[in-house]
Amino acid sequence: MNFIPCINFQPRLTYLSFMELDRCLELLYAGQLLPEATLRALCFKLKEKLVKESNVVHISTPVTVVGDLHGQFHDLLEIFEIGGAVPNTNYLFLGDYVDRGLYSVETISLLIVLKLRYPNRVHLLRGNHESRQITQSYGFYSECLNKYGGASGVWQCFTDLFDYLVLCCIIDNELFCVHGGLSPNVQTIDQIRIIDRFREIPHDGAMADLVWSDPEDSAGDANSPSSTSTTTHFQVSPRGAGYTFGRSVVEKFLQLNGMSRIYRAHQLCNEGYQVYFGGLVTTVWSAPNYCYRCGNKASILELYDKDHSYFNVFEEAPENKLLNNAATAPNGTFLRDYFDETVGPVDVFSDEYQVASASKRHVEYFL
């Protein structure tokens, strides 16, 4: 791989200057990968910072909340265009930075450097994909091998770092933010504070539920009061593990902890956000055209103060269209080519374009 050997500090070095971090940012914004030694140092340094943080981080508005990204690096850059660049805008990311998309490494690298460079402006929560087991099945592991070679320890380095990410965030003492949702093992926020989070996400228990569970807005609420007693509590999924949580669980949790709303991510929604239980729970989804084929919108939630907010809805970054277009993306092109000024608008009516796109379209003699 073509790394730019520009930063030669050693992993054990405990001091990273702003200048070095800015150089990393420059490379990452240009779509390049960082050298492995640099990544090791960055992960090491960030672990050192995160280990001091509580499981529950307190921040205040204004802040922009970002949901699942799933390696859609161009859309992350689009988010900085739409929502404002770091450090001019404060960001809270709700997790699921990797897997599925083609640029998980670039995405998580950029977020790590931003967190180190502007620790009070960027906050990263842990999602269910920030895990060793899940990333092996859903693309991040393969991507690390492809981009850094089979002998590299990059994936171990990233996944070790994931163990240090915090679980929840509370904004202005009343907005509760988490990747998945609530857990029957968590009645009070203090019960989250005592979780030992420095580990792989387990299958079971409070930590698993926080990154895994989903709200279940039963449509039957209004018309059959008898059903509410069963459908507004926690329910076991028919898969045989994991929970869905209903309205009464949410109301009880909010009331007990003096919170007013829950913001979470974790579930795809076509409109970019989804409101449950009359606004008590809101899903924020930030991966437009998820997996490059769902055609969904995405949003970021701009919180101005605890009562005023705005869902900034957006569609996929234009670079993604070029990525998908075989005619303009010759094999083996590096990401930075898409940022190159010389690549002008494509003339879709040109002969070259038509021939190239017809011949490169995928046709399969399936049986």
């Binding site: 069963t230 076991v236 028919p238 234009p318 399936f366």
Partner: protein, 348 residues
């Protein structure tokens, strides 16, 4: 970038159609086997190409904004997305047969609510391409077969599938333990709502009720010799009807592919299920149409096996990333034993 090209105030559809037609004419006028076009199509042997060259005008292209086909300069491999606000349903007609496809984004929340009512009791999969379809019809005989997500989901059972994720037993056990030590309050550990969360569907396509029925005959085989011939593909599409990642316990997906050659068409609708640590399922429906004989053959196959039985078969060559191959439904299908096969035909 493309958006900037769309004029602000819009053009009426008739001019757009004219523009498309004009564009199509220039495209057609081009040399069909220009060096640039054939160079990139190595799978079409030159000798073969001449032998099976389609008779002119046998197929009619109905989607003029698509690029030229290297075989006959008139095709039609569908664009991934319509660029104008007109309905973009790419299609091809050969004799009395028309094959059309449509690809749309996933359902929005209003549509999802409607579907929840229709499908009552089923928690819907994560991604539903509910406005997409693959359709094959014979206008003269009034026969039509369609593959769509709604009918595929109607075939999913709203009852306990009996399948649990690999760690379910451990999970429930630890919850019961917690209940005994009263860490948990009175939460019921009953499963709230029973439905087949693997979305297993034996969907074979949707036929209108007044269509003539198929005749069952399991002795029929698909003509592999005809289907393996590299006849030029005049029309091709590949789409997902619905997909769910089973809360990251695997994948459940229905995928439909269609290819149309000069004399025949083949549709493959595949349900692929992987529950990590538990099992694999591949349910295939193949629809084969011979245009000149007006004959349709539909074959349905169920394959299934344990997860570990499949995992042991991939011991060579994937040392570093053993799970990559388990995402490939073609490879998995070859490893699974056939559990059930049905075949039926229809002579129109």
């Amino acid at each position: 970038m493309d958006n900037k090209r769309v004029p602000r105030h819009g053009i009426s559809a008739i001019y757009v159609d004219q523009a498309r037609e004009a564009f199509a004419q220039t495209v057609r006028a081009r040399d069909p086997r220009s060096p640039a076009a054939t160079m990139n199509k190595p799978q079409v042997a030159v000798g073969h190409d001449i032998a099976t060259i389609p008779r002119p005008n046998r197929h009619r292209c109905k989607n003029p904004n698509n690029p030229a086909c290297p075989h006959c300069s008139a095709v039609i491999i569908p664009a991934p997305k319509a660029t104008l606000p007109l309905e973009d349903t790419p299609s091809i007609s050969i004799e009395d047969w028309t094959i059309s496809t449509r690809k749309k984004p996933i359902l929005n929340s209003k549509e999802l609510d409607e579907w929840e009512t229709i499908l009552g009791g089923l928690t819907l999969p994560e991604m539903i391409f509910g406005n997409s379809f693959v359709r094959i019809e014979n206008e003269k005989k009034g026969w039509c077969l369609e593959f769509n997500a709604l009918d595929a989901l109607k075939a999913v059972k709203v009852e306990d599938s009996g399948i649990r994720v690999s760690y379910a037993h451990k999970w429930i056990k630890s919850k019961k333990e917690q209940q005994r030590t009263s860490e948990l309050d009175d939460n019921s550990l009953e499963i709230g709502q029973h439905y087949d969360w693997t979305y297993t569907t034996n969907y074979k396509g949707s036929l209108a009720s007044d269509n003539p029925p198929f005749t069952r005959d399991d002795s029929i085989e698909l003509p592999l010799d005809k289907l393996t011939r590299p006849d030029p593909i005049l029309f091709y599409d590949d789409m997902i009807l619905f997909e769910d990642e089973l809360a990251d316990n695997g994948i459940s997906v229905v995928n439909v592919k269609v290819r149309v050659m000069n004399e025949r068409a083949l549709i493959l609708s595949r349900f692929f299920l992987r529950v990590d640590g538990v099992l694999f399922r591949v349910y295939d429906t193949r629809v084969y149409v011979e245009f000149d004989e007006n004959r349709v053959v539909r074959e349905y196959k169920e394959h299934e096996n344990d997860y570990n039985a499949v995992l042991t078969k991939q011991n060579s060559g994937h040392g570093r990333d053993p799970k990559a191959i388990l995402r490939d439904s073609n490879w998995v299908a070859q490893q699974l034993p056939l559990v059930k096969r049905e075949c039926e035909f229809l002579q129109l």
